[in-house]
């Protein structure tokens, strides 16, 4: 799994490419990248999950962990590009309501407000 980071306005966008699964190169990498962004002062973080075909239970745990880490620091983590497969998982686990999700990156960026 690869993560590339860019900035749109004052939103830190992390493009995730590849499945988020148990292991140091995947789920743990997501967690540490988000925590790194938070430590670097980012408070508006958007995960673009369009390149994520599959999320296992460890990956889901890491997504929630990232969400909570950002929230604890006073920021907000939102999602865009959520695939149907991931959406199903979020619905089953009733986590769909915990995350703010947007169909397009533009809508997500705009939602953070000025």
């Amino acid at each position: 799994m690869n993560i590339s980071r860019r900035t749109v306005g004052d939103v830190c966008v992390l493009d995730i490419d590849g499945p988020i699964t148990l292991g140091p190169d995947s789920a743990e990498k997501l967690g540490s990248t988000v925590q790194g962004a938070v430590a670097g002062g980012e408070s508006r973080i958007l995960l673009n999950l369009a390149g994520v075909a599959y999320v296992d239970s460890a990956g889901l745990g890491e997504l929630v962990g990232a969400f909570q880490a950002v929230k604890k620091s006073g920021g907000t983590l939102k999602l865009t590009g959520v695939t149907k497969k991931l959406m199903d998982l979020l619905v089953i686990t009733k986590l769909a309501s915990a995350f703010e999700m947007f169909d397009t990156e533009a809508a997500a960026v705009a939602s953070y407000g000025a």
Binding site: L22, A27, G31, S57, A58, L60, G61, E62, V64, G65, Q68, I92, T93, K94, L95, A98
Partner: protein
């Protein structure tokens, strides 16, 4: 060549005398340093005259005695006793001392290793290291011996230090620099006097112990296969490090190399064997864990006037992260649960046991399912393990045929009624994720003949060779076809369907199914 056998406050040692002048005294500058206050700093000197040896007193305070006769100068030969102060030094013939008195055949070690293997000893490596060091010390006449072996990361770690007489040194250290150099370059280092070494300042710690003479050689084993030039490849597994306060032990590098080569093979054999023993032990531990986990589960079937319950759980590894449990309350109500801990294998199994313990404490029948899930959630959040959580379905069947339940992020079970398939979704998020998690209790009336099918995602996410998932729809189809059957019949139909679907594809996740049929 002569050999001197000394016993003083530093212990018993055998010191070769390669040639004269060879000074004996209390000073650290001496060729043989005696740890005895009645010995003068420069006490006596040995010199060679043709094939004969002469000892000469260097105006010592206490005098020099040969076979109890005070001498100023006297020939000495093998068998003579020289006394200086309170210390007696025995003269031995030094003819190939090392090889004749200490010759040690490492093939014996290999034989011993075979014996230890037969005994299944997990301590094989430690034993072999001790044997190698003891025989090396005997062979070389060095005072202390060390074996440093490379760890997986290439880091050298001291595995054993011994001194003469088979004594293990617990706090002794080698020079830091020399073993690393030797290991990196694969070339011997023989430092005849650390004081003369260009890096003397770096050996301060070693010098402080009076150690001045160091010999360090790599331990190498040949690898199978050879390179383009037909030369076998070698792997360095560590170094053998010897040191001493006396000069002049083991002059013959060829002997040392032969010894190191044999020792390396023996050590590597022992190490490989020990790894195999440890792997076997780990597998055995897993088998035990697997048995304990199975024993922790209740019986896989239960019947009461109200209900027939059957369950099955199949871990995809030795131990699993799924669990099922049920308990009948005094009033005839039945509480039951299926839970899935995120992750697989040992770490998930440990958390599974925790969840089972917490649930056991909850099942007194006084609390609603949402209260049970809330409390479990808080208990798990307090013991937070990063990114670890549990999805579970917790239900209670009351004596009035009301089914109350809480679904904490679990795959929604199917309630198979006479005319419908109902998913039981009410509940909340998985437990152990959010300490502020909110839970709701769902409620449904059940009728005689209805089936409740609770399962973990290992069932619906089972894949076939084409990579397709079994999925909720296939499961729904199977359940429609078993409507009205017994719980055991429904369970075996589901298991049969998923087994046929997956074919030879190995299970990727633990799979658990619980079926209840209401009477």
């Amino acid at each position: 060549m002569l050999n001197l056998v000394v016993v003083d406050a530093s212990g018993r040692r055998s010191v070769p005398v390669p040639g004269g002048p060879f000074v004996i005294g209390r000073s650290s500058e001496s060729n043989l340093q005696l740890n005895d206050v009645h010995v003068s700093r420069r006490h006596a000197e040995l010199n060679q005259q043709g094939t004969a040896w002469l000892i000469k007193d260097l105006n010592s305070r206490g005098g020099t005695f040969v076979n109890d006769v005070k001498v100023s100068e006297s020939p000495v030969k093998a068998g003579d006793r020289i006394r200086l102060g309170d210390t007696e030094v025995r003269v031995e013939s030094g003819e190939s001392t090392a090889l004749t008195t200490g010759h040690f055949d490492f093939r014996q070690v290999n034989a011993l290793l075979a014996g230890l293997r037969a005994l299944g000893s997990g301590q094989v490596l430690d034993e072999v290291l001790a044997i190698v060091l003891d025989s090396t010390l005997e062979l070389t006449g060095a005072e202390r011996g060390f074996i440093l072996l490379a760890e997986a990361g290439g880091q050298l770690v001291q595995r054993l230090a011994r001194t003469r007489g088979g004594i293990t040194l617990t706090s002794a250290q080698t020079s830091k620099r020399i073993p690393e150099e030797v290991f990196a370059t694969g070339v011997d280092r023989i430092v005849s006097d650390l004081l003369d070494d260009v890096n003397a300042s770096r050996h301060g710690g070693t010098l402080a112990l009076g150690i001045r003479h160091v010999l360090c050689t790599p331990l190498k084993v040949a690898q199978f296969g050879s390179d383009a030039h037909g030369e076998g490849k070698e792997t360095r597994i560590g170094v053998l490090y010897l040191d001493s306060r006396e000069k002049g032990y083991l002059q013959n590098a060829g002997v040392l190399h032969a010894l190191a080569a044999e020792a390396a093979v023996v050590i590597e054999n022992a190490r490989l064997y020990q790894e195999a023993v440890h792997a076997e032990r780990a597998a055995q531990e897993l088998r035990i864990a697997s048995e304990i986990q199975r024993a922790l589960l209740p019986s896989d079937c239960f019947t009461s006037p109200m209900v027939e319950l059957v369950a099955s759980t199949t871990p995809c590894r030795a131990v699993g992260g799924d669990l099922f449990d049920y308990v009948e309350h005094e009033d005839g109500a039945l509480a039951f649960t299926v839970a899935d801990v995120a992750g697989k294998g040992t770490s998930a199994a440990l958390l599974t046991a925790v969840v089972q313990g917490l649930l056991a404490g909850e099942s007194d029948g006084k609390d609603t399912p949402e209260q049970v899930c809330s409390r479990l959630n808080r208990a798990l959040c307090r013991r937070a393990v990063a990114s670890r959580y549990v999805t579970l379905f917790y239900g209670e069947l009351g004596s009035d045929r009301t089914l109350t339940y809480c679904n904490a992020g679990h795959n929604a079970p199917f309630l198979v009624t006479a005319g419908d398939l109902v998913r039981l979704e009410t509940g909340g998020t998985p437990v152990g994720l959010f300490d502020f998690g909110q839970y709701e209790t769902g409620r449904v009336e059940v009728s005689a003949g209805d089936l409740l099918v609770i399962f973990s995602d290992g069932l619906t996410e089972a894949v076939n060779a084409a990579g397709d998932e079994f999925g909720d729809e296939r499961l729904a189809d199977v359940l429609t076809s078993v409507r009205g059957q017994s719980a055991a019949g429904a369970l075996s139909a589901v298991v049969k369907a998923v087994t046929e679907f997956a074919g030879a594809e190995p299970a990727r996740d633990d799979m658990t199914i619980m079926v209840l049929r209401f009477n």
